[in-house]
Symmetry: C2
Subunit: 417 residues, 2 copies
């Protein structure tokens, strides 16, 4: 199995007595993101989709995000009141959006002649630690969900939130938290799949806005998805994929607005996989690169971790110089950490990153050579290269990113099934 640089997820989603395969065989968790429930018309469409799954004989658990920009609006209110909103109260506030969308969807399901019940994170038994704003799920106490499923109801769970085990306060799970809720429920209930409904059709071999003939992938491994997500593919949050991998939850990313199959995200041994050598090319337009002199690496990366910076590539060029990259959104945090360290450092923000990802890479030498040859041929210079067993990433000038993506996509014939 490929190693990744992401921390292991210590979350446990266990309710052995209640879940299990015997029961979960026809259990489906269906998660719908904010754009899928942006208005009441869309919520009724989601209700129809949940009812169709129920009528097909499934036990159905829905997890809905907040409608459109509801949560952003609540965040705006919080900062209107306070420059540093109290974390407990902030979670109390920003968790209401999901309660609204799920209650509305339950009403719509009732109107379609089916029974439904919406549950808050607390009512659904999503028990977390007390780290407000980025709580981790410690346990799913699924008794109430199972009782409702046994009664034939569609169960709707407010995503993104839980209740802390010790203080009984409302907690939120951080960005992409509804995906994590869905995966944790799928694990606890032993669901046969966790469907993630979104505004794209699935995971593509490259961004279709750059490569119009990019192809939708029928399946990728967890490791590939983690690398793709970390490399710029914004379909799924890292954390929910890690959770799914750690708990053997089969994910299915698909479109809210069509019936087509999307992309499965599964274990390496899963029969649904194509076993392609390369799965896709991901990219980010800008990923700042930092160069730091004369510092203990341990000190540097401890400080960056404390500031919640997601360090990506790390290179030690000489004994007294370290180069690392980190996402654009962590730039202010990086600069603050480096500024406080009293060291010589510099930053450049004119580079993006192009990453070739594929589980088959492990057993196929020569991929790196072909990658560099391809970039050479189109005259794109790679400034920093980093690899994992299933990824080759090159920092190139931002203006070269689209050409590099297209050239690599074509060189490895990713548009062909």
């Amino acid at each position: 199995m490929a190693t990744t640089q992401y921390e292991a997820v210590p979350e446990v989603a266990a309710d052995a007595a209640a879940g299990g395969d015997a029961r979960g065989g026809n259990l489906l968790v269906m998660k719908f993101g904010g754009t899928s429930v942006a208005d009441t018309q869309k919520i009724r469409d989601v209700a129809r989709r949940l009812v169709a799954a129920r009528e097909a004989g499934n036990r159905v658990v829905g997890v809905l995000s907040a409608m459109g920009d509801t949560t952003d609006e609540l965040i705006r209110l919080a900062y209107e009141v306070s420059p540093r909103p109290h974390p407990r109260e902030y979670d109390m506030l920003i968790s209401v959006g999901e309660r609204i969308s799920n209650a509305l969807c339950a009403m719509a399901i009732h109107d379609l002649g089916h029974e439904a019940i919406s549950l808050t994170g607390s009512q659904a038994g999503i028990v977390t630690d007390t780290v407000h704003g980025k709580a981790k799920i410690a346990e799913v106490r699924a008794t109430r969900i199972n009782d409702a499923l046994d009664a034939g109801r569609v169960v709707l769970v407010a995503g993104f939130q839980g209740v802390s085990a010790d203080s009984h306060d409302v907690t939120t799970l951080g960005r992409g938290g509804s995906d994590t809720t869905a995966v944790a429920l799928a694990a606890a209930l032993g669901a046969r799949a966790c469907e993630i409904y979104t505004d794209v059709e699935g995971v593509y071999t490259a961004d279709p806005r750059i490569v119009p003939h990019a192809r939708k992938l029928p399946a990728v491994t967890y490791e590939e998805m983690l690398e793709l997500a970390a490399s710029g593919a914004k379909v799924l949050q890292l954390r929910s994929v890690e959770f799914a991998r750690n708990h053997d939850v089969r994910l299915h990313v698909r479109s809210t607005f069509s019936e087509a199959e999307g992309t499965w995200i599964v274990d390496e041994e899963d029969p649904v996989l194509e076993k392609a050598i390369i799965s896709g090319v991901a990219h980010v337009d800008c990923e700042p690169l930092y160069r730091v002199r004369e510092i203990e690496p341990a000190t540097l990366f401890e400080r960056l971790a404390a500031a919640n910076v997601n360090v990506d590539t790390i290179l030690q060029v000489t004994s007294d110089e370290i180069v690392f990259s980190a996402p654009l959104e962590d730039r202010a945090a990086c600069e603050e950490v480096l500024g406080a360290l009293d060291v010589e450092w510099s930053m450049r923000d004119d580079l993006g990153k192009v990453s070739l990802v594929g589980a088959g890479m492990k057993s196929h030498p020569g991929i790196a050579a072909k990658t560099f040859a391809t970039l050479d041929r189109i005259g794109v210079e790679s400034r920093v290269i980093s690899t994992s067993p299933i990824k080759i990433a090159c920092h190139v000038r931002t203006e070269d990113v689209p050409r590099a993506v297209t050239a690599l996509h074509d060189a490895f014939e990713l548009g062909r099934a």
Copy 2:
């Protein structure tokens, strides 16, 4: 004690172990309505007011309504999704507004250097029956509130909501529910007073828009307030006044926007009372009057009660004719009941009602005579008259209402302290 036509409130707000006078001596419940928390600036003003009460040495419990039209907006969403929103889900939905305002206020209190915690109805231990949309409080389990108060915190409780004892579902208490929450908490915690902050200065001898020299009353009895509220004074909901009377909670209605004393609503024996003969003149511009022939009164009023019509005045004119009035908002329900009964009936909606209310009326004959003489003098004809031991109410033509109010206010010299 005066009898009233309102049903006794069977709600019990008891947590004897936790509350009690010894502890409640410096405990204050402060309730703020929707206009008092209409925007984030006003919420910060409310926070300052709560903090001032805390700094004056009180244990402080705040109960905030939802901001401005938040709840109306949620109701709009519900009806966009469903013509008949499922009652359980409807309560789940419309209870979030109070959670928002109370969490925001807790943030603002933290910024003022004080500790605060906002609690949902469920977290605050407001246990109700399961009648969604108009649940009754069965019990207040105040352990968590008392623990937070003991820790020196300002405790904010989301008004208007509770949790059902058997199903653990979110319930709402109906219109004016936040007042009821505040009074129930004051009773359970043994508060020395329940302050109801609103956008008027208190209870007046008449509507100041009609009688500019109307006077703010320093105090009225529960019974007077019930009669005034039922007769058109919109300061407080009937239900919270009944609750306060049944549990000996001293109410203080006052303005959010000034420091002035408002109006106390207390027991007949309370020293704060002026012992005036007449307290005020209330009015409604339109109260429809129904005339029904050849029906068993029991049948008629059972049907009206089942349709939640708040019948006001009832007169039996002849053995085969009944006249009754009911508030304008119950007109559709009335017409439906009467239409279904297959009887001869008529309705007129050109009448309003003027009511003279005063606890001293019981021991002062001649009030009725003076009332009729006053109306006679200004040429206003009274169509229907109804009385209670502390009230005389006359239906007069809607266009005569302002003149009748002014004449009665002056005849009884209510503008003079």
